[in-house]
Assembly symmetry: C3
Homo-oligomer: 262 residues x 3
Amino acid sequence: MTFELNGLPTRTKKNRSSGITLAIDKGYSIRQTEDFLETSEPYTDIVKLGWGTSYVSTNLENKLAAYRNAGIPVYMGGTLFEICLLRNQLDDYLRYLDHHDIGFIEVSDGTIRLSQKRKLDLIADLCKNFTVLSEVGSKNPENILAPYQWVDMIKSELDAGAWKVICEARESGTVGMFLPNGEVRSELIEEITHHIPSNDLLFEAPQKDQQIWFLKKFGANANLANIAPNEVITLETLRLGLRGDTLFDFYIPQNGVGQPIK
Amino acid sequence: MTFELNGLPTRTKKNRSSGITLAIDKGYSIRQTEDFLETSEPYTDIVKLGWGTSYVSTNLENKLAAYRNAGIPVYMGGTLFEICLLRNQLDDYLRYLDHHDIGFIEVSDGTIRLSQKRKLDLIADLCKNFTVLSEVGSKNPENILAPYQWVDMIKSELDAGAWKVICEARESGTVGMFLPNGEVRSELIEEITHHIPSNDLLFEAPQKDQQIWFLKKFGANANLANIAPNEVITLETLRLGLRGDTLFDFYIPQNGVGQPIK
Amino acid sequence: MTFELNGLPTRTKKNRSSGITLAIDKGYSIRQTEDFLETSEPYTDIVKLGWGTSYVSTNLENKLAAYRNAGIPVYMGGTLFEICLLRNQLDDYLRYLDHHDIGFIEVSDGTIRLSQKRKLDLIADLCKNFTVLSEVGSKNPENILAPYQWVDMIKSELDAGAWKVICEARESGTVGMFLPNGEVRSELIEEITHHIPSNDLLFEAPQKDQQIWFLKKFGANANLANIAPNEVITLETLRLGLRGDTLFDFYIPQNGVGQPIK
């Protein structure tokens, strides 16, 4: 039977270039992957195998196949890229991605130090063969970049060929765009998105309150990353105003917000 | 083989009217639902599909069937009721519940404002066809109701026909009966249960320390709601004194508590 | 294809006597157990069925069989031992373990009070038929033992026949070796491991920051306990320096840490 709620916000459809949900898989079994896809495939656009988890994975081939069969691009976390670069094993890494038919690559310097020139050269080079997600922001809570530095770096990386730029927060949501308590550095986001369209960005927002903040700021189709797979459904309800937190952000009743129903 | 511990508290059995555990499913796959039932069916009395998650569910029919086959009533979260009421789509919602053979309904105003008269009329009307769970308390941490208001509202809603009244806490356990840090507003619970039998209430208590507080206060068979499915086993051990936190609440050794075993 | 990172720390192999990961199962279904084993068997050395969860388990026989088939020893949490001792049902408990062919036993007094003499006698007696894990430290955050007491107790329990001694932290990581906020009582660990080889100990470290602390202190092959099953993969990446947090603890690049890559 049809049960259609009136006045829901319009969600983008796959393949989305905005309204993206990027989920982080940190070691699912094949069945867990299938279960995740059963419930969340329509709402999941990209999957990242977190940091170096793919290196210790016992089921990598089958897992990649499961995501591929569902039509969802999957890629390795940026830390694995950094680990390889640090060891002068970038060529090995690229062969590994090629062998596994991975079409996305993350170019990040959240842990290692990378000269800006090298980072931009890498992006320019890799975007010939990959969809490049580059990342800005440090995983070190004491490495605070000024807003103008974020803007400059993001612009340069988009110009160099990055498909979108990820704004760092980690799996925890306590660094980069966020204070150690998880609060959004809102003036930073204001500054960044004053200069750069929010659709060119992917905001890492693992915590529910962070997701809400971005949805209230940029609407139902904000690009959000580092979502725990078992929170993708919850995020989708937040996007549609189907949870208390965003209900009145995406639906204005006829007699106005805050008027009691008699 | 039989291994029976002496002196365990007496737990109520299904179908329970006290000692209820109400679990919140926020997007399980069918296999996850089956797994939950495998381990926790005897300890789970009611399942709520949290807020509007059922609306974005890809597996609703099969999931309802899984719970129904296990003999566990399942219903949609109160926020979905509020969303429909706000849109003047209550009739659509009732047809949807009827179509899915859902026998429980939650009547809440945690997010929307609803005149008391309308809420009581709705309860009185809906309890002709449904087992009504009504809910008192706001999801807005700044909307603090005085204890006498909780008592008045709960009494009126029971009188209007609610089977039991849910005391609000959200999935997080940080509003309604609780302070923003999750601590119980104990004087509020004292006041409410001075006037109303605790068995007419369902306390939302998602956090472990909150569950412990209610078990210490009302005993092994307190009615507890918003339990994460993967915490139902843990809750059952707390109810029976099989975890350190409540061990001495439900078992007094012969030589007294606090005496060392020689 | 082979993709081998250079310069990874050397991990011990099964059967490990150091580098142990002890996971805590608090109510998995059979399929969840199988899924956990699929991804994490090589990295999991011992499984504890937390506190009294085995007593309310609906699938105990099959679960024990699943772990046994994977070659992973499994045992019941120390609280169940304490519960039985308190009720004078130790004989029943031992028959229960024998019936289920459980080869490990935890001798703890985290919740009950047990005279030191009795505890040592029990360890000496039980180690004839079991691999004994004894545990030191209270689950009560107000019961703070002085460092010299930890050292004395651990030494005595190892002398009495304990295979290794577990240092208490609970599933939460907020008591015993840790402050209520989860911070390590580092001077306590210094004192303990000044007197006792860290390989004779199993550190309960459920929180990620705690795991990192022990890995930085004792290296990739620290013995860590109370790991959530779905965090074993993450822990393994921390052990190998495949996550930002420990990357530079286990790999020193040729041109030194902190030098930018040009």
